[in-house]
Structures are given as C-alpha cells and as structure tokens.
C-alpha cells in the first residue's frame, strides 16, 4: 500500500528534471537566441540541445540564392562562448566565428543555392579533473528576400 504511493512520486521525481531541462532549452532559445535574428524572419525551425563542454552538434540545411540569411547561435551563461564553423559540400571551411571574435551571429547570402554543414562546439574551459559544465545551446536561422 505504501509502495503504491511512493512509486508515482519516484516516477515524477525522475522524469521532472528531464522535462524541465528540455522546456528550459525551448525558453532559452526563444528568449536569448531568437531576438538576435533582428529584422530577419525566423524560419520557424527549432534546434536546441543540452551540450557539455567539449561536445559538439552538427546541422545540415539548404540555403537559397534568392534569400539573405542570419545564423544565431547561443549557449547558456554557464558555458564558455560557443564556437561554430561553416562548411560547404566538399568540407571546405567557409566561415568560423573563432576568427571573428566568437560572434554569436553570422549574416550571409549565396550566389547559388547550396547545402551547408554547421559544426557547433562548446569549448572546454573547466580545469582538468573538474566536472565539465553543461547547458542549452540553440541554433536559429532567419531569412529575408534579397
């Protein structure tokens, strides 16, 4: 009888952190990453994940020659500034924010439509032996007609 009461409590206790972290990423993406798109229209797609220091995410997307784009990448405050690198279909580096003061946004346009790959990395800032920091990282794209 007692266990019947305890088990639902344990389930809630275990599931709640998972759901709240995910909800937190959505709120973070909307509050911090989205406004950085400025006058560009957000495409509506959602890309956010919890990453730890030293971890990375990759994103594939096609971009069109008729549009101008802005990329916005943001990591939570407890993380070091997020690095991102842009590659073409042949894995040539087209842009890296490491060479541009770790900027969180990048404006670009294309002369012909291309599929691009984005590598987003949380660098390691914590000292060796300490627990690496983890937090939400959000990636958003805005567009407008040329």
């Amino acid at each position: 009888m007692r266990s019947a009461r305890i088990i639902p409590l344990i389930i809630i206790t275990l599931l709640l952190p998972a759901l709240s972290v995910n909800g937190q990423c959505k709120a973070f993406a909307k509050k911090i990453c989205l406004p950085e798109l400025g006058s560009y229209t957000h495409d509506g797609n959602y890309h956010a994940a919890v990453l730890n220091e030293g971890e990375e995410a990759e994103l594939f997307k096609t971009f069109y020659s008729d549009m101008e784009y802005r990329l916005s990448v943001a990591g939570e405050e407890n993380l070091p500034p997020v690095e991102f690198t842009v590659y073409d279909a042949d894995s040539n580096v087209l842009y890296s924010n490491k060479e541009n003061g770790l900027a969180g946004t990048w404006d670009f346009r294309l002369e012909s439509s291309q599929q691009l790959r984005f590598s987003i990395r949380v660098p390691t800032a914590s000292q060796q032996g300490s627990t690496p920091a983890g937090g939400c990282v959000a990636i958003m794209f805005g567009f407008r007609i040329k």
Partner: protein, 305 residues
C-alpha cells in the same frame, strides 16, 4: 531488496526504470557515437562523408514559411484552388493524417499570408490549430495568437512572425516531449506541400529559364536531408512509409543535373555580410519535370485524403 521486488511491484518498478532511461535518452537529444554514421538510401552526397562524431545532428528542411517565400520570390501567382480545402480537417482523425496535414496547412497558410489572402489566412490558421490540438500539442496555436492574427491581418510581417512562432511551438513541443518522429512527419508534410504548390504553379509554356523551375531543382539538395531526417526515426510505421515515398521523389531528382563550382567566401563590407560566391549548372528536361510533378502530386494527394 527482496521485499521491494515482490511480485506486486516488480512490474511498476521495471516500468519506472524504463521510463527514466527513456527520459534520460531524450534529454538533450544525445546520440550514441554509432548513430553518427548516416546512410542515404540510394545516394552518396559527399557532404555526409565527413560527419564527425557529433553529440547531436540536426537535419533541417526549408520551413513552410521559407518554401512559400521561395515560391513568391520566383514570381508565381496565387491559386487558391491548389490548397488543401479546410473542410478536410474533419477527415483527419489519426496522428498520421493530423501531423502530415499540420505541415500541409501551415504551408498553405504561409502561401496565403504572402499574397494577402485575409480570409484564407484566418481559415488556414484555424485548420492548422485543429491539427495541432488533435495531436495534443498544448498551446501551439493559442486563442491569443488567433486574436493577434485578426488584429494584424493586413500586416504581413506580423503574420509571418505569428506563423513562425506557432511552427516553432509545435516542433519544440514534440521534440521536447519525446516525439521527434511526429515532428519529422510535420516537416515532411510541409516540404511535400511546398514542392506540390511549386510544381503546379509552373507555366509549361515558359519552362526554359523559369525561376520557379530553378527553385524546384534546388530542392534536389534537400531530398537527402529529408531522407536522413526520416532515417533517424526509422521504425515508426508512418516514417517507414514516408521513406519509401520520398525515395520515389529522390529517384526522379537523380535524373536532374545540378553541379556547383567551388564556393568562394567573400566579405561584403558595405552589407557586413559574407557572400558565398559560386556558379551552378542545373538542367531538368520538361519530361523529367512532368514526372516529378506527377510523383509529388500522387504522394501529396495520398496525404490529404
């Protein structure tokens, strides 16, 4: 310990552990290293050859809003007769049909919004809301969004902002609640609808040099992304069905030539933006175009039944 695992509570405890493990897997969308190996059915896009051991991989398609913008920027005219009638909402009683048609109605809504079709904007927002509500996506499209839409019905930018927000709410809700397959089905529905509208709007008497045909050929670049997105959710019956259908579209796109010269990034100081300079050589024959249009129409019509 033996007392804890008596017959009466063994099953609940097992369920609890399973649920906790599943929740842990979803959190942050972490991937195992082996999952990083992606295969494209029948394809060999070089861009996927160098996938690193990333913790998370996102395959992203042009959103319905982006697809509609591409159609309009190519100079296409609006045709209400191509949209999925809102009366069909009452036919969609399964999660499959609701998810596919949430993508389809969102694309139709975006299309109508860019051509200032005020009544259609309201009708299609309500149709999209009915699909989202049916899927149990809480507050994807709130009553406040509908009120704001009506208040700003002549303000295209605000309407686009509302559409973008509601689409974001739907996909983030599903991703965050352990339903990435459902989110992928919505994306697929929206992408197919964009391709359907585009192919139907091409004037075959003005085929050569047609900008809209150019935008349709560009979708060849997104077919592999869509297949990878679907493959990530393989095993879900609707996804497995979609993989077969999208493979038919890919088969036609494989007959289309699309080559690009090496991309040269250049910084445009005046615009404070990077210009990715390259040249593309694209070729699609009217016959292949008709085949593409026919395959896409067949698939899209199977979605809206």
């Amino acid at each position: 310990m033996n007392k804890l695992f008596n017959k009466g509570i063994r099953l609940p405890v097992l369920l609890l552990i399973t649920a906790a493990l599943l929740a842990g897997c979803k959190q942050g969308g972490k991937r195992s290293k082996d999952e990083g190996a992606v295969s494209i059915p029948g394809g060999s896009a070089a861009i996927y050859d160098d996938i690193k051991q990333a913790e998370r991989i996102f395959y992203t398609l042009p959103s319905p809003l982006e697809s509609a913008m591409l159609i309009k920027s190519a100079g296409a005219v609006f045709n209400e007769g191509l949209l999925n009638p809102v009366e069909n909402t009452r036919n969609y009683l399964t999660n499959r049909s609701r998810a596919l048609n949430l993508g389809i109605y969102t694309c139709d809504l975006s299309f109508a919004s860019l051509y200032d079709q005020t009544q259609l904007i309201i009708d299609y927002m309500n149709a999209a809301k009915a699909m989202a509500d049916g899927l149990g996506i809480l507050d994807a499209i709130a009553d406040a969004d509908l009120d704001r839409l009506e208040e700003n019905i002549h303000d295209t930018e605000t309407i686009m902002d509302i559409i973008s927000q509601t689409y974001l709410n739907s996909s983030s809700y599903l991703e965050d609640n352990g339903q990435p397959a459902m989110a992928a089905i919505i994306l697929a529905g929206g992408w197919i609808e964009g391709l359907y509208l585009s192919t139907q709007l091409v004037d075959m008497n003005n085929f050569r040099g047609n900008r809209l045909v150019g935008r349709i050929v560009d979708q060849k670049l997104s077919v592999d992304i869509l297949l990878n997105l679907l493959n990530d959710n393989k095993g879900h019956p609707v996804i497995d069905e979609l993989i077969l259908q999208v493979a038919k579209i890919k088969k036609v796109f494989d007959k289309v030539t699309l080559t690009t010269s090496q991309v040269q990034p250049e910084y445009d100081q005046a615009a404070d933006a990077t210009v990715l300079k390259s040249e593309t050589d694209a070729d699609i024959t009217p016959e292949v175009f008709r085949e593409l249009s026919s395959v896409v129409t067949e698939i899209r019509n199977s979605f809206i039944k």
